[in-house]
Amino acid sequence: MFDYSFHWRAAFKALPDMLDGAIVTFETAALSMILGVIIALFLVFMRQGKNRLFRGFAATWISIARNTPSLFQVYILYFGLGSFGLHVSSWAALLAGITINNAGYLAENFRGGLKAVPDTQLRAARSLGMSAPQAYRLIVIPQLLRIVFYPLTNQMVWAVLMTSMGVIVGLNNDLTGVTQDYNVKTFRTFEFFAIAAVLYYLIAKLIVAVARLLSWRLFRY
């Protein structure tokens, strides 16, 4: 029943390449998070604004990002844009797909965070003589950050895990892509993907650890 000999040596030889892939994965995730946070802030303000067009746009974005699979979002960017004659690389499609997804989820988090900061805080700050930007910078944002910090960390881990979908649209230089390349050459599926799984686990744990350290430093008072 169990006549399979593991060949770990070949898999470990590929480790440097896979580590390079891991860096690409991390960079892609980090980039999509940065873009996602910026877009999410815009979406939150659009949603609270008076312009109906902007409000509808933000609501549509958020509901599409949250109600369809992220793989579908990558697909429609990769294959769907092709029918307009727009050919994007698989990396760009992956990055855009994850960014759309991140922005949708983060916008909801930010909205909840803003709701949790009482209105009275802002009014008190204004009545103490702060200008509106000052009140936001010194009073609202620090409290908001504390609330959304944990979801933000979670979303970052999610972004790293989502980059693994790049291989389905043909990306070959991120961690899963590199692993798949080796897998196709050697058919040592289990060994290579086991190492990839360990690397993903380490990246996820690293993010959580750094976030915990940061929160200990930032929120000590």
Partner: protein, 216 residues
């Protein structure tokens, strides 16, 4: 411009794919919820002795689902089990749901105030009676929104099973795209089906939630 070679047969093919998606979601949710309730209760009631369990389940949340599918598929071949891809998908998704459901159940059980449980014990309920009649109903209400969210996210994550060769909704639409070469139309239909399924689940969940809150 509007004539398309998308036929009713293609639509039926996609709906069959959607049915596979639904089936996968239901089976994995049943497995995951049953296991998750057991593990979650254990985690909440015996926090010290079940720490290793938490580590194991944490692995399933920190490794991409795609890699879990591939790994388990390879493991199945290595172990010589003659399982179909569908069974593999159900097992992996079931474990994945277990990992999340455990946390949801655990936080639900921990949200029941200890004083309430002491009160029920001092009124003469046994340990198990207290769990079944006091803790469970209250924990369910706290955990339910999280559970619906999990259901929604699993429904979307089933799209990844295409990698191990199951024809579900997204794979079905891709097959049609390669044949009729109209990616935008076909993918939009697939997206619409996903969107409607999500919306229905979310609405049903919200309705059930408000109905439960009426009696509180």
């Amino acid at each position: 411009m509007f004539d398309s070679s998308f036929s009713w047969n293609d639509m039926q093919f996609m709906l069959q794919g959607a049915w596979v998606t639904i089936l996968l979601t239901i089976i994995s949710m049943i497995i995951g919820t049953l296991a998750g309730v057991v593990c979650g209760m254990a985690r909440a009631l015996l926090p010290r002795s079940t720490v290793p369990l938490a580590w194991v389940l944490d692995v399933f949340r920190s490794v991409p689902l795609l890699i879990q599918f591939v790994l388990f598929n390879a493991l199945k071949s290595i172990a010589g089990l003659n399982w179909s891809a569908f069974v593999v998908a159900c097992v992996v998704l079931g474990l994945y749901v277990t990992a999340y459901c455990t946390e949801i159940v655990r936080s639900g059980v921990l949200s029941v105030p200890l004083s309430l449980r002491r009160a029920s014990r001092s009124l003469g309920l046994s340990y198990w009676q207290d769990l079944r009649q006091i803790v469970m109903p209250m924990a369910t209400r706290v955990a339910f929104p999280g559970w619906v969210n999990l259901l929604l996210s699993v429904m979307k994550d089933t799209a990844l099973v295409m990698w191990i060769g199951i024809v579900e909704l997204l794979r079905a639409s891709q097959t049609i795209v390669t044949r009729i070469q109209e990616p935008l139309l076909v993918l939009c239909i697939a997206g619409l089906i996903y969107y409607v399924m999500s919306l229905v689940i979310a609405r049903l969940g919200a309705r059930l939630e408000t109905r439960w809150q009426e009696n509180d």
